[in-house]
Symmetry: none
Subunit: 242 residues, 4 copies
C-alpha cells in the first residue's frame, strides 16, 4: 500500500518560499546530537562513522545493521561509536541530516525565463524525480525506519508536509491566475498529486530497482516525467493541452 507522501514533488512556482514561520522544532534524535568533536582527529572519525553508517544502512537496512558493522566498516573500535552517538537512531539522524540538503532542495528546478505553468511543472517534477533517484537507497531506508521508529516517522511527515505546502501554494497561485480548476481545495489536491508523484518515484526507483532482473527494462525516466506531469496538469485542468 501507499505510505506517507512526505517527500513530495511538484510545482515550484514563482510564489516565494514562505519564511517557514510554522517551522517545528527538531525532534529527539536530530536535536540531541552530541557536541561536535573539538579536534581534527575527532572530526575525521565522526565523518568516517557517518559515511560507514550510510553505506551499511543502505546495504543491510536499518534493522539488520549492527553497531559493530558500522564500526568495522569505519575501521574503528566498537566503543568509539559512543563517543559520537548514543545509539543507532542518532547515527541515522546524522546520516539523514547530511543528505538532507540534496534531498530537500533538488536544485531549483525553475525554468528560467518562462511563465508557462506546464513547463514549470514539468521541470519541477523532473528535478524531484531526479533527486529521488539519486537518493533512492536513502529514501528506501527512510521508508523502512519510519515504519519502526516514531521519531523518523515524524521526520518523514515533516518533509512531506514541506513539499505539500509548497505545492499547495503553487496550486492556489494558479487558481488565482485562472489557470487551475477552482473547484478543488489546494491543500487536498496537493496532497493527492504530490503523493501521486512520490508513489511513482518509490515504485520506480526503490521497488523496481531492487527486483531488477535480466528481462526487465530499466525505468523510463522521461516517460515517467511526462506521464506524471500530464496527469497533474490534467487534474488541475490546465488550459490548452497539447
Amino acid at each position: 500500500m501507499a505510505s506517507d507522501s512526505s517527500k513530495v514533488p511538484g510545482m515550484d512556482t514563482t510564489v516565494p518560499e514562505e519564511t517557514d514561520s510554522e517551522a517545528a522544532p527538531p525532534v529527539a534524535p536530530f536535536s540531541q546530537l552530541r557536541e561536535p568533536p573539538t579536534t581534527q582527529r575527532g572530526a575525521r572519525t565522526r565523518a568516517a562513522l557517518v559515511k560507514a553508517a550510510r553505506k551499511v544502512f543502505e546495504r543491510d537496512g536499518y534493522l539488520d545493521t549492527r553497531l559493530t558493522d558500522i564500526t568495522k566498516e569505519a575501521r574503528c573500535a566498537a566503543g568509539s561509536f559512543y563517543t559520537y552517538f548514543a545509539n543507532k537512531e542518532e547515527v541515522l539522524a546524522a546520516v539523514l541530516l547530511e543528505a538532507q540538503e540534496d534531498m530537500m532542495h533538488p536544485g531549483t528546478g525553475r525554468v528560467q525565463g518562462t511563465d508557462d505553468p506546464y513547463a514549470v511543472l514539468e521541470a519541477s517534477n523532473r528535478a524531484y524525480l531526479a533527486a529521488y533517484k539519486r537518493n533512492a537507497k536513502l529514501m528506501a531506508l527512510l521508508e523502512q525506519v519510519a515504519q519502526v521508529e516514531p521519531e523518523f516517522r515524524e521526520f518523514r511527515r515533516r518533509r512531506g508536509d514541506a513539499f505539500i505546502r509548497r505545492n499547495a501554494r503553487g496550486i492556489a497561485d494558479l487558481q488565482a491566475r485562472g489557470v487551475a480548476d477552482r473547484e478543488v481545495d489546494p491543500m487536498m489536491a496537493s496532497r493527492a498529486l504530490s503523493g501521486m508523484v512520490s508513489v511513482m518515484a518509490y515504485n520506480a526507483f526503490v521497488l523496481s530497482e531492487e527486483q531488477e532482473q535480466e528481462g526487465d527494462a530499466p525505468v523510463d525516466f522521461e516517460g515517467l516525467v511526462t506521464t506524471v506531469t500530464r496527469l497533474w496538469a490534467n487534474a488541475l485542468r490546465f488550459p490548452g493541452h497539447r
Copy 2:
C-alpha cells in the same frame, strides 16, 4: 516518501475480471502453510492463535510482537504455537489470508444500471476507501512488514498490481470509448492514479488516526472521495465536468 501502491483503488469498470492467467504462484509463508488440524480441538486452538495474532500485531506492530505475546493472548502454551506455524511470518500469512477477502474485494462497488463513468469511478473509489478504512490497522501492519520481510513485500506488490491492472483495463476501455485521454499509457496512468488514491488512504486512515489529538478534526471521508474522484476524472479528461 511514497511506497508501493500495492493495494490500489480505482475504477471497477464493467470489464470482466480477467481470469488471472498471469496469476503468480503464492510465495513462501503463504504456500507452506501446514496442513490444517484434524481434530476439533486443534481447529479451535489454531483459530485462537490467529485471532490473538491479529490483535497483538495490530496493537504492537509486527516487530515488537513476541511469539509468547501471541500465545499468552490466545491462552495457550508457548510450544503449542509450533504445532500450527513455523514462525512469526506464518501466522501473519494466516492472518492476512483470513482478512484478504474483505481487503481485496471491497464489495462490488459497482453501480448497478449506469454507464456514467464518473459515477462508476466515484463508487469504486468510495468502496476502496471504505475498505481501507475498515482494515486500516491491518494495512498499517502490512506496510510495516513489507519493509522488513521480502515475502510480504512481494505480497503487497501483487495486491497492488491486481488493482493497477484492473484499473488499467478500465482506463483502456474508456479510451476506446473516447471518454478518456488517449495520450496517456493506461498502465502508467493507472499506476499513478491508483497510487494517488492509496497514498491518500494511507495518510488519512493510518497516519492521521495515529496522531489524532484533541484539536484535530476527524478525516472528512466524503471530501476525500470527492477530491480523489475529481482529480482522477480530470486527469483522464473525462468530458462534461461539472
Copy 3:
C-alpha cells in the same frame, strides 16, 4: 565505622510480641517476585538457582558475582535465570527471604520457667549471637548490599527496627517493674544497646573471621555473651549485680 543496627539482639522479655500493626509493605525486589513455577521441574531449577546464588554471593560478594557465575554453579543455561528472576537483586531477595526465618527468629531464646531479667537477657543475647554466627556470611553480604542497593538498605533498616522495637518494649517493661533505670528513653537505649551487640557480632563473626590468621585466637563466644550481657545489664542498672 558503624553501620545500621538493623539486625539487633537483645532481650526477649515476656512482653507479648506486638501484632505488627505497623508492618510496612515489602519493598520492590521482595514484592515483585515472579510467580512461582508451576511444575516440579521448575521448582527444582529455581531452588538450584537460589542455592547457587547464595553460595556464589557468599564466596565472591554481591558486586563481583556475575549472573553467569550463578547459572554455571546451578548447572543451567544463562537464559534460564530470567525465567525466575529479573536481575541480581531479585535472586538476592529470594536468598534473603529463604534465610530470613533463621535470621529473625533465632529460636525463642526464652528461658523457660524464670523471671530473672538477667537470665532472660543473657539467653536472648546468646541466641542472637549464635544466629548471627550461623549466618555470618549472609550478614556480611547484607552489609555489603545495603551499601549499594537502596532496597536492601531499607530491608536492613526494617529488620533492625524490629529488633530495636522488641527490645525497647522489654526495657519499658523492666522500667515498669522497677528493674531498669527509669531515666533513659527506652527506644534510645534500645537503639544504643541493640546496636552495641550487633557491632560486636559483626566484628567477631564477620571481620575477625575473615582475617583469621595463624596466631589468631578464635573468638571467645561465651566471653562475648558474658561481656555484652553484663554491660547491657549495667547500663540499665539492673539491681543486685554479682
Copy 4:
C-alpha cells in the same frame, strides 16, 4: 546489621596517648601515593582533582563515580587524572588523608581542670559525635568503600582500633582508680561501648539524614550525647549517678 567500629568514640582520659609503638605500616593506596607534583600548575591540578573527587564521591558514592565525573568536575582532561593517581582508589586515599586530621583528632575534647570521669566522658563523646556529624558524608563513603575494597576495610579497622585502644586505656585507668567495674575486660568493654557510640552516630548522621522527610524531627544531638554517655557510665558502673 552492625559493621566495624573502626571510628570509635569514647573517653579521652588523661592517660597519655601511647606513642604508637604498634603502629602498622600504611597500606597500599595510602603508601604508594605518587611523588607530589613539582610545578605550581601541577599542584593546582592535583588539588582540584582531590577536591572534585571528594565532592563527587560524597554525592554519587564510590562505585557510581566514574573517573571522568571527577575530571569533569575538576575541569581537566580525562588523561590528566593519571598524572597524579593510578586509579580511583588512590584519589580516595588522597581524599581521606586530607580529611583525616579532623576525623581522627576531633579537637581535644578534654575538659580542662577536672577529674570528674563523667564530665570527661561526656565531653569526649560530644567531641566524637560532633566530628562524626561534620564528616558524615565522608564517613558514609568510608563505610561504603570498606565493603568493597579490602585496603579501605583495613584503613577503617585501624582507625577503629585506635579509638578502641585509647578508650580501653581509659577504662583500665578508671578501674585502677576504683571508679569502674573491675569485672569487665577493658578491651572487650571498649569494643562494645565504642561500637555502641559509633553505631548511634552512623544511624543518626548517615541513615537518618538520608531519609529525612517532612515530618521527621531532626536528630536531637544533645539527647544523643546524654543517652550515650549515661549508658556508658552505667555500663561501667560509675559511682554516684545522678
